[in-house]
Structure formats: C-alpha cells, structure tokens
C-alpha cells in the first residue's frame, strides 16, 4: 500500500508537462507530415490527427518499448543485488544504447532521442535526488539511493564523453527503474507521454484546439495506448537473452516506413517551429 502511494506520487511527477525534458520541441514527424500534404482533405483534423497518433504510436511502441523494458530490467537487477557492480551495469546499458543507435537510422529522430534522453538523466540527478539538508543517518534505503545516483551520474558522464549516445528509451528505462516505478507503469507512461506530446504538437501547429486535444486524449487515445502496451510489453531486444533466437523474428522493428521518411525530411521544411 505504502509503495503504491509512492508510485502514484511518482507518476504524478513524471506526467507533469512542465518537466524540462525537451519534449515540447519535438513533434515526432507530425509537422513534416502535415507540411508534405498528408493530412487528407476528406477527413476532419481530429480524424487525421488520430490516424497519425495511431501509426506513430504503433511504430514507436514496437521499436522503443523493448529497449525501455531491457534498460529497466538492468537497473532493477542493479539495485536488487548489491553484488552487481556498476561497471557491469554500465556495459549492459551501453550495449542497449549501441543497438538502439544502429536501429535508429533517421538523423532527425536520433537528434531528438539523444537530447531528450540526456535531459531525463539530468532530471534524475538534479531534480529527483534527495536534497542534502534532508539526508539523515545511513539506512538501507539511503545507501540504495546513493548507488542509483552514482549509476545515473556515471551513465551521464559516459554520454558527455561520447562513449555512448544516451537514447530516450534507454534513459527512460533507467530513470523509471531508478525511481522504482514498476515496468508496467513505466511502459504505459512512456507511450502516454508520446501520444500526449503529439497532441500538444497538434495544438501548437494549430491543427486542434486545446479542448479538442484534451477530448481526444481522454476518449480516443486511451484504447490506442492500451493496445500498443499489450502488444509490445513482452518484447525484448536480442540482448536480453542471447540464447533466444526468437528476437530475430520478433524483436524491435519499424512498422511505419512512411512516417520514417517524413520524419527524416523534417529539416527540409522551408519554415518550421519544432526540432523534429
């Protein structure tokens, strides 16, 4: 019960749209999609936006959620066992990050993913670590928090040294794992934030009004998130279990090549308000 309360509180913090995570400058290809004439003149702005959210969410869930799950798992193992050393954990996270880098072949998406990823780690070390004046005598809990903080700081340092990229899904798995949010909630929240980000981009692009966007978020987007979470929550990357050849046929994948091309063409727009 107590853990549930803490988890709910963390969910409230993480779903705050004012968090400095850089997501407000990302439209994940929506701006480019509209600019290239792909919003059909035959259907309403709401219908077109929903179709975009549906396709974008499906391809993002399929390509990113396995990385969230595996990173979350690595961090969970790290704090559950005092024997797991920080170097091994960093090596595991770097391997995931390298794999995500080799699978993200769109320089615009790469750029957005890296800037949001490192912002999440900074958020943890600066915004979610315990302030010095509240630190009391050493407990199991405080030792654990110190260990997690040094893990996140180490990861951040290696990103700054360009030893790894620091992609968003990996950093999200690390952040939520370090905050001890359950994997189910971490997965769900990640997709929720992706969908909500698209809706706020639609508002900024003047496609939808703020009330209309809220209506869609409450009534239409939820079943979409539910479906993608249930479809992708059990997927892993090939690194999770090297003996399972199944990941070769059922691992992370892009499912929307059209969205990929248009997101890559973002920088070709004569004028634009988003970074991706």
């Amino acid at each position: 019960m107590e853990h549930d309360d803490k988890e709910t509180y963390i969910l409230l913090l993480l779903s705050d749209s004012n968090l400095p995570t850089g997501s407000f400058v990302a439209s994940s290809g929506l701006e480019s999609f509209v600019k290239h004439g792909f919003f059909s003149s035959h259907s309403s702005a709401s219908d077109s936006t929903l179709s975009f959210i549906q396709d974008s969410l499906a391809t993002y869930a399929r390509s990113a959620l396995p990385f969230v799950s595996d990173a979350h798992h690595i961090v969970e193992e790290f704090f559950q066992s005092d024997d797991t050393d920080i170097d091994t954990t960093i090596v595991g996270l770097h391997a995931l990050d390298d794999l995500y880098e080799s699978m993200t072949l769109n320089h615009v998406a790469k750029r957005a993913s890296k800037s949001q990823g490192v912002a999440l780690l900074t958020l943890y070390s600066k915004g979610f670590s315990k302030p010095v004046f509240l630190q009391q005598e050493e407990t199991t809990e405080s030792t654990r928090e110190t260990r997690l903080l040094s893990l996140v700081d180490r990861l951040k340092l290696t990103i700054r040294r360009e030893e790894t990229e620091g992609h968003l899904p990996i950093c999200w798995g690390v952040l939520t794992g370090a905050l001890q949010l359950s994997l189910e909630r971490a997965q769900y929240l990640h997709l929720f934030l992706h969908a909500r980000g698209l809706l706020s981009a639609a508002v900024r692009l003047n496609i939808l009004g703020p009330y209309g966007a809220q209506q869609l978020l409450l009534h239409a987007v939820r079943p979409l998130i539910d479906r993608e979470v249930s479809r992708c929550k059990h997927l892993h990357t090939e690194l999770h279990n090297a003996e399972l050849a199944e990941e070769n046929f059922n691992g992370p994948a892009t499912t929307w090549p059209l969205g990929e091309i248009l997101a890559t063409r973002h920088d070709l727009q004569h004028s634009r308000i988003f970074n991706s």
Partner: protein, 313 residues
Amino acid sequence: MSVVSPSIQKIDIGGGRIVSRSHGSAVVFSELSSTYPLKLLSPRITQAGVALVYILSYGGGLVGGDRIKLSVDVGSETTLVLLSQGSTKVFKTRPGNRASGGAQRTSCSSLGPITTTQTMDVLISHNSALFLLPDPVTCFRSASYNQIQTFRLSGDSSSAVLLDWVTSGRKSLGEEWVFSRYYSVNEVWVDGKKIVKDVLLLEDSIEDTKPLPQRRLGDKLAPYSCYATLILYGPLVQNIILSLNAEYETISVFKMNVPSDLIWSISGISDGKGCVVRVAGKDTEGVKSWLGNALRKLEDVMSIDMYRRAFSA
C-alpha cells in the same frame, strides 16, 4: 547453369553458396552451388574484376514454408553483383497446385499462412564490393515473408550497395497491401561492429479499435505502393553519397496540399562513410527509375551493360 560442386551434398534444401575469388583480372567462382527451389545463374561478364549472379527460384516464386539460405563470400579484389529476374513473388501456397505435387511444401490452409523465409549472409573482404540490386519483393494476398540479411564488411576498403524493396502486391488483381506479414532485417557489420540494423515489419491485422474506425496496413502506407530502402557504404560509393546529399540539400518544402508521387530521404551513418536512403512511390516503375538515376555512377564500376540489366524496365 549453376556449377555442381561436390559440396552440394552438404547444402540443405533451398541452400546456396557463392564464393568469388580474384584470378588475374578475372573473377572466378571457387564455389557456386544451390539446391531446389533456389537457383543461381552466372552469365559471362566482360568487365574486369566483376562477376554477376542471378538469384532465381524455380517457378518464379516462393511459397509458404520455403526456406532459402544463401551464403556469399566476396573475395578480395572482386566485385560481385547480385540480381534477380523480375520481382520475388511470395505466394501463400503454390499456385494451382494446392492438393497435388507441391503438397510436401504447402501446408493446410487451416493452419493459417506458413511463413516463407530467405536468409543471406555475406562476407565482403578487403578491396571488394557487393552490389545487391534485386527487383522488389511482391507478397501476394495473405502471404507471410521473413527476410534476414547480414553483411560483414572489412575495414574501410570494402563497399556495399544494398537494395531492399517491397511492393503492395498484384495491383492488377486489386491487391493493395493485403499480404499478412512482411518482415525484413538488414544488418551491416564493419570489422565486427554492428553499425546498421534496419528492421521493417509490415503486418496487416484486423483488430477491435473502437471507438476508432479500422485501420488496415493499406491505410497507413497510402498513397504509396512501393517502399525501398537503400544502404550505401564504403569508398566505391562516396561519389554517389555526395551527389545524393547535394541533391537532398536543395529541397525546400513549402506547404503542400497533396502528397507528391514520390518522396525520399537520406541519413548518414558512420560519419558519412555510408548512408541510408528511403524511397516511397505511387508506382514501382517510378521508384525504379529514381533508383536508377541515383545509382547511375555505378555504371563506371559494373559496366553500362550490367547497370542496364539491373535498372532497365
């Protein structure tokens, strides 16, 4: 015809092996073998240092349950061009042969579509190149297809041009993205480090999406009916990468009212040593002619004749 070598005994059904070696200015095959339903053909080529192999299948198509496994070794100082003859057609079952001869390969339709799988492993040695320029894959209604291709390059002296493309089906029969599953993986390794893992999954499913309307595969890929991925890497293709980048940078998009007939994008990999190009077009011919233009400089390496074999309509 394919050379029957003693090692053919060791190759499984649908297996094949190509080994090219440099011999003076000529390229010889120290191995070129395949078993049913895979067929390898190597016409005589006059271009020095270059060899050509057509990858074919008996009956011009693959059916559910077929497994093709091709292993390729491109030796130093050789350039190997791999082509197909017409698109790779993937049937759910062998056409007109449901109950008879092909029964051991086709299975009961009550079990749902059985997947067709093609795997290709290619080793590209120092100072060598692979140009993989097949016609697109066309999956027929309800077909299910897996393609896993792995390319291992050596250092900065080997090059690759890898084309992987798919069409929406038999347009003449009204098929438009109605296959069941298309799954394609292209991995590029350089000196043991994986630099590219491109995975495309196109799956059509009927699901409950209430309160939203059904959204089928065709809805999200419209208005295009052909998608291509082109991966370029290495010294031999630097001029192509440069000119594609230059052309891309001249594009400036103002608000459009309708989508154009063809769109493409390019992203660099490994600090510009390579790139990934994606193209979508309303018809396959349009995509083919775009690719033909983009890769025109390959003429210098693979001869005009071979270039035409790859890109003529």
